[in-house]
Symmetry: D2
Subunit: 392 residues, 4 copies
């Protein structure tokens, strides 16, 4: 159980790029990073393309005006000059800019925490892997839903064999907020997502399904997709070639099979993010709109609802919970758990502690690159006419 | 609202083939047909391959011993000799026998009500279509879930455009009762389902998904599958080549797309039969374990739960309900609705009333043949390596 | 598991008084009684105060016109003259008439099945007890929800001590259909319920809570109310002195306590009929809008959902189910179970089989009288200013 | 929508008394207060009766060792000497100590945030009201569930008349964690709760129902209890005279009625904290285990589920939300909202801004005193034999 006590010697000096006043996700970064003031301390920022707005926003968060920079290059350059400059930076800018900013930050010796999908090209990812390795730096990826404690319960149920042999992975991340094109035209946060130049080769595959794909990797680390088939549609025509709906079929190395449904045109759906693992003996299912419960269905037995923080859960699950049973956690707790692990990873890296790094389960650079790979394979299959391809 | 008053001049004289003491589905036929004693009267039977057991069972249901026949051929032959012989017969025998019994019954001038999946071959279906037409007889198919009143609500919501343009059809019929092979070895009702000689070329596609496919046709009569792709697995190896799990992707004539998941190895799943229709404006979803509710989700508005029998539902929906709101209907009410329509169809046929026949929505011979066609196309795609094929 | 086979030698000849074309509950009687045609056969009726409508309705149900009588007195008199006259009669008339009709039927040697609340006065009930005893006749009461199989599961869980010592009984039967007075003015079925001359001294206490009180007696037969306190309101003023909302607190002989909430002004509530039993170790809860599920909560363990017809349930529960798991039962199955037990009771009485009568659990005359007593005590407490009284 | 930007000029210097390493609720205070680092800054503490443990804990949270005091008296005295001493202190100690600590803190010129139930005696509350007024200081009470944005939606629905006239208030806060006495014997956090010397005259009435009672006051500010009746039990005998279960009936000034059920022996219940408001036209219900949803039931219309952050909600509700729709908030967000309002209140008080103070809706001293009054009246009724009393 977490209670805010420090897990590392002192908080890391932290900066943010993007994620300013109008950003929805930016606040989630801060809610996660600053939860207990023992993991990160926000000291610098380049919040906004509108430099003035970025500065005013930073000041309202308690930053010194002089450390609210107009752009990421200045941020990196100026902080590098300070003795107490930032050690780690989070990137919450549109997808198309992740690669260059990550690269610049790493080259300046900063640890990086980056929004998903990490980059556009697998090759970019591989380059960054090499760069980070060479520099001895951590890159974390904010798969923000993956910090819910009950996902660790699922992970251990799978590894313990509670479910029997895994047969099916059922993945879904769907909502309906883009059922029409209002947002495409009027929402700052949505416009760039349907512009291939900024968003890359996909919309919902990159934006939504990378989250859920990572969650499946977290829960079933031994299953690897060997083949997949993707069919994607642009129901709002102006979004073509970017999809607003996609179906994926998967075949895993073990003989298991799976499906993914990613959609932002599942009209009215407010409960559409779930992961279900079906084994030969039992199934377990998680939905992110009620992250305090798992449904555990053993064939032939009563349906069970497992509830966060109860003593019957595995210790690895309860280690990450904060409130005790009866008290609902939400998404900010998930982000806080991920950010805490970023801090622990950075600290371990700095201290040269490979054992901690080895045992730590968090969305790392490898997971980020795998997300790029996932999207690339899906798009490749879809563009070839929704055919089966080898997962490369 | 139904209250049991007769819809036809007098009850039809009805016989049953199969569906005896050990049959689970046989009782559903009787619960449906005999609901009000104004549509059917059970007067003859060939309930069982064990003739003695069949006779004893028939007597316990109130049949005359002399009309409890040892097999279907005797039933048909002897009843034909009586002035008050049966007019219609229901067939609840293993799938492999449906074709020959249906043919014999039609040739003897009997209307037929047959279990799904109707036959193995589309060609058999087409032959029976011609035969039934020539004889002026009705063939009904017991897609037993399709009589729930709220499905008619969905149908009218779709046709009225309440959902906008239909974009996605999400279909699922899954349970976990065959997660292991215990039933294959020990259950009379299960054994033949995994024997290709008796069950045909499929297990769950025929056994489960034909129900759900028909429900989708009922709700969206104007959508036709143009292409599909099916991947099927035999997780319990001894079932091969018959599948215990199948995924299907569909593309419809209108540009809509869809999915089907059929499975009897979705371990522990007790709530796995659903149909969701996603439109450009709203979605609507039905689950058969709570047939008194629909979830209606209009994008941007509160999620609505529509409840059976409430005055805000369409008249075509409430016309088929029996109990008033607050009082739960179950599966027997669905079967009763279907059987009532079979009776009305038979009566209309007899009276030469094409208008009634034309307007009546029920699972007819055509729907049964389409079920065969569905399975054939799925199997054809799967056997070709899970590739896209034209729906033929 | 029930499958329609006869439980008694031959169906009983059955008549109905009330419950005609415009009656909602009348159909529930027929759905229950005629389920399998092996328990009852409907042969005579006095369906309606409008004799012509009653006759036409009866004919539409398949009755002979000559046995569709204009009123209950004629029904009783004429049927008594026939060799094949009715043996049992159901009474589904307004509450104020139950007593005189029951008395007349018993005096004519008929078994009686009567709607709840049975009569107005406990003294009437006691008189009828003596009369029925003297005549050797059965009186059953249609507490129609009490036939759901899962209530027998609860009963056995309680008696087996699965819950530990019983501490609390939480009862609720509420809906909102009378939130305004539209029904009072315009609905035939509602008007008399708020007229003290026809409905007696209570509205929702008699109409709703007697059902739920009986269910609590069924589930916890050893608990007896020793003291209660009732506060009742007439939110729609024109209903005074009859209540449209009532709260009751109870103290049981064992030290357990309980609550009842009866209301027809719980606006919008569509899921308001439930019974929860809290023990020292676990709780179990049933709601009638999903009669196929029980929630079973063992303190410190995952929440369990028990599902009808599953093999892990007690045999006494599954003995009364008809469809197998995955297939939803509704209210008509509950009524059918009760009516089947009425038939078995009548048959046992006729055969002089006290053992069967002794073991049979069904809503009998004693349960009906206890319902009257419940209402009387509630009204007495409420009228004294909502004070604690001894349950007499 | 909140995004962490400051609402007051600079963060308040904040201390904590109690709520140390083994305290469950202490972390909730910090999660609330420190959410954005723009409202409070934790600078001093007296966390623990074990001074050493308290100091080590404080240091792990980032406090200076010299400001981790051994007890509250030292904390107050030493901080008073500093120029940068604390301005406000939170009290999270056992109930019996709240009064003396609050008094001491106020006398030292500190604003106070105190756990519920505030004190034991209404007279103590009234004394503190006068003291706080004289000193010009704020006292807030951590009714921690009351900060969920959807409660403000309910409040405005009530005040706008969306529900019609309010008729019933249904309140419940129950769980089963004290179904046996294990916790009484072994849990530090539970022991004192069943010791009248430390916990006062009640267990669950003070510990649980004061939360829910405040929520009802928040949602329905114009309803006042005029009479109530309370029946309480000690199912675990060793707890007597403190109750582990209590039922309360209420009559409000407007003619509305209500119920409260408080229990820590509702075995297995994990979803037992709810507030339902029933009006003449509609009802609305909130449960704290899913604080992102309201059920809104308009009589005669489909049941609606309202979801946090959706644009169809009232502005006053969405003003307090942080994450956008689809992203679940939990209990920490509720605490953060309350603490933010404490900061705004303290700031307004300091600045002499009565308008802000007037408009601000938060659990203030008056609400705390009303909680004491609630418990006192409940106990008085219960101890008099569960009789109706005037609410004084």
């Amino acid at each position: 159980m977490l209670n805010g006590e420090r897990k590392i010697e002192r908080p890391l000096r932290w900066g943010m790029i993007g994620g300013g006043r109008t950003s929805n996700v930016g606040y989630k970064h801060r809610l996660g990073a600053l939860r207990d003031n023992t993991a990160f301390r926000l000291v610098a920022s380049a919040f906004d393309v509108d430099a003035e707005r970025g500065r005013s926003f930073g000041e309202n968060l308690g930053l010194e005006a002089s450390r609210c920079y107009p752009d990421y290059k200045t941020l990196i350059a100026e902080e590098a000059k300070r003795k107490d400059g930032i050690e780690v930076v989070s990137i919450a800018t549109p997808n198309g800019t992740h690669y260059e900013i990550t690269k610049a930050a790493l080259e300046a010796g900063l640890h990086v925490i980056c929004e998903k999908p990490l980059f556009f090209e697998v090759e970019q990812g591989e380059e960054i892997v090499r760069l980070a390795e060479r520099k001895g730096l951590i890159v974390g990826v904010t798969y923000g839903f993956s910090g819910h404690p009950l996902l660790l319960q699922m992970r251990q149920m799978v590894s313990n064999g509670d479910l029997g042999d895994i047969r099916m992975i059922e993945l879904q991340y769907t909502h309906g907020f883009n059922a029409d094109d209002t947002g495409d035209k009027h929402s700052e946060g949505q416009k760039w997502r349907v512009d291939p130049k900024i968003a890359g080769s996909s919309f919902v595959l990159g934006d939504l399904s990378t989250h859920t794909y990572y969650m499946s990797r977290l829960v079933c680390p031994n299953l690897r997709v060997e083949k997949l088939l993707c069919d994607r549609q642009s129901f709002v025509k102006s979004r073509a070639p970017l999809e607003d709906n996609a179906y994926v079929l998967m075949r895993y190395n073990s003989g298991a099979v799976g499906r993914m449904w990613a959609s932002s045109v599942n009209a009215g759906c407010m409960n559409g993010h779930r992961i279900r693992i079906v084994g030969s003996r039992a199934s377990v299912e998680f939905r992110d709109n009620q992250p305090n419960e798992l449904v555990y269905e053993i064939q032939g037995q009563p349906v069970q609802t497992l509830i966060r923080a109860m003593p019957y859960l595995y210790d690895t699950c309860n280690a990450d919970e904060r409130l005790g049973a009866l008290h609902a956690e939400g998404l900010p707790e998930s982000w806080a758990n991920i950010y805490l692990k970023f801090a622990v990873a950075i600290d371990a890296k700095r201290r040269g502690d490979p054992k901690t790094l080895d045992e730590l389960v968090y969305p790392d650079l490898k997971a980020g690159v795998e997300g790029i790979r996932w999207v690339r394979n899906c798009v490749r299959s879809a563009d070839a006419g929704a055919v089966w391809i080898d997962f490369q």
